[in-house]
Symmetry: C2
Subunit: 286 residues, 2 copies
């Protein structure tokens, strides 16, 4: 018998992974959570039918969401992670001894519980003493917090279902308000290739552009996400990810990574022409 | 009724495109050729069951295989294309008025005939007066040619079936011999992500490294190829793709591109750490 997990990446494109074992299935108040084991991708996490992470390529996503802002400003001390229930973003943050406090706000406790049980690879650092977990809505948390952060990372699902509130004007405004004067916001920013993702990318960029004096987009190769060409937004009140980047400062820290390096940092901002054009259309329409 | 084309990208990963119409099927002495129409990817070409190109993302591959060497040495006058039966590589070459002669050697005349009929998007410039078509084995052509080229582009299928002879030591040596003293070789170099492709990548690099004083690898985002993270090799007797690159010279030419630009040129050589490590293991084992 062959068991395959399949995802419709668009209405017309399907991506499938051969499954060894269906390890976990659970329905939380927010979403459907499934975890599988596979030959090719190792353990992988599915939420509402969509690949969130696989053991084989999660290092790419987590390297790029954390090390780009930390290498831009190695003085970051207080970080907030919105979403990121698998724990991978927190894991990378805990590798910086300079970081004093990490708040993680994940709406769905069941995701964290499942990750702790089946994905120690990513969830293994959630018990670091610097980490506080809040199981509540990220948008609501930001509406109410009095805390100021040097870094906010929006490690969200796509803007449908529980992730939707993390793509609104009010949410980005509250991120801005909760950042220090040299704060950085990094957000999951979809993909430029399939129109379904590109539309969400342009919407997110247009909202962030209006608020932050510095707003850039960077790319990485993410094999299990639609098209494999995926983006993060980098917004900041003060630090530019290239002009203020001092590669030797990051190299001195001696952090070992499998995807990120200081050249990749720079190359990630060198976007193909068709991606630039989408971003500049957003800017012109404002 | 739903019709889907599916490709096993590895034994455990499947990629599928919803099909509107099966436009063409033919069996040549070398391979099975199929052409489909689709909502998402437009017309697409399949050889021996594997995606060769789709109308939606071919611009990425053809931009990167042609404009990187041409921007490194805009004085290129004589080019040889091995493979490339769809015509997309020749199309990009013909955009340079400085190019005087393009020889294209494609083993399979049926691929060219099918592309001319169903893929004018890529095949439309094969009748440029500077182009000569040779329907013969590329390895054999290079064994016998007395011609010297400024650029050889190996636009091959994977190293199985008729493409196999384009990944041998003898083939790369004959490329070297057929290049002028400032000649450049660009070759399809597989992908670093799935081991099946990465093994072939390392084999190709190891052979090319032994012959050429300059040997680099560059990357691009190719959504319909396995993992979406794909590579070309850049080997040269004289020109380094970064040190000898003068972006303003290329920009002056006024060539419009959808993927390539002079920043992408640089960023393409900024490889993730796990890719660098594979390449440096190859170098150490020599």
């Amino acid at each position: 018998m062959e068991l395959w997990y399949s995802q419709l990446q668009t209405d017309n494109i399907k991506f499938s992974i051969k499954v060894k074992e269906h390890l976990y299935t659970g329905k939380s108040p927010y979403q459907q959570i499934d975890i599988f084991d596979s030959e090719e991708m190792g353990i992988f996490l599915i939420i509402d039918g969509i690949v969130m992470l696989t053991s084989k390529d999660e290092f790419i996503y987590h390297d790029m969401i954390v090390h780009v802002p930390l290498a831009t400003n190695p003085a970051i001390k207080k970080a907030l992670v919105i979403g990121g229930g698998d724990g991978g973003t927190v894991r990378e943050l805990t590798r910086y001894s300079s970081i004093e406090k990490i708040d993680m706000v994940e709406i769905d406790e069941m995701v964290v519980a499942a990750a702790k049980k089946f994905l120690p690879l990513t969830a293994g650092r959630l018990d670091d003493p610097r980490v506080s977990l809040y199981f509540e809505d990220g948008a609501e948390f930001l509406r109410n917090t009095k805390e100021k952060y040097d870094l906010i990372i929006v490690d969200s699902t796509d803007p449908i279902g529980p992730g939707e509130g993390l793509f609104t004007n009010e949410f980005y405004q509250n991120c801005y308000n909760a950042l220090t004067d040299d704060g950085i916001l990094v957000n999951q920013c979809e993909s430029p290739f399939y129109e379904k993702n590109a539309k969400e990318m342009r919407r997110a960029i247009s909202k962030i552009n209006r608020l932050f004096p510095i707003s850039e987009v960077y790319q990485y190769h993410m094999p299990t996400y639609p098209s494999g060409h995926w983006l993060f937004g980098f917004a900041s009140k003060k630090f530019h990810p290239l002009h203020d980047f001092r590669p030797e400062k990051w190299t001195e820290l001696g952090i070992e990574t499998k995807y990120y390096n200081t050249d990749v940092h720079r190359g990630a901002f060198m976007l193909p022409t068709y991606v630039r054009e989408q971003i500049s259309r957003v800017e012109k329409s404002e």
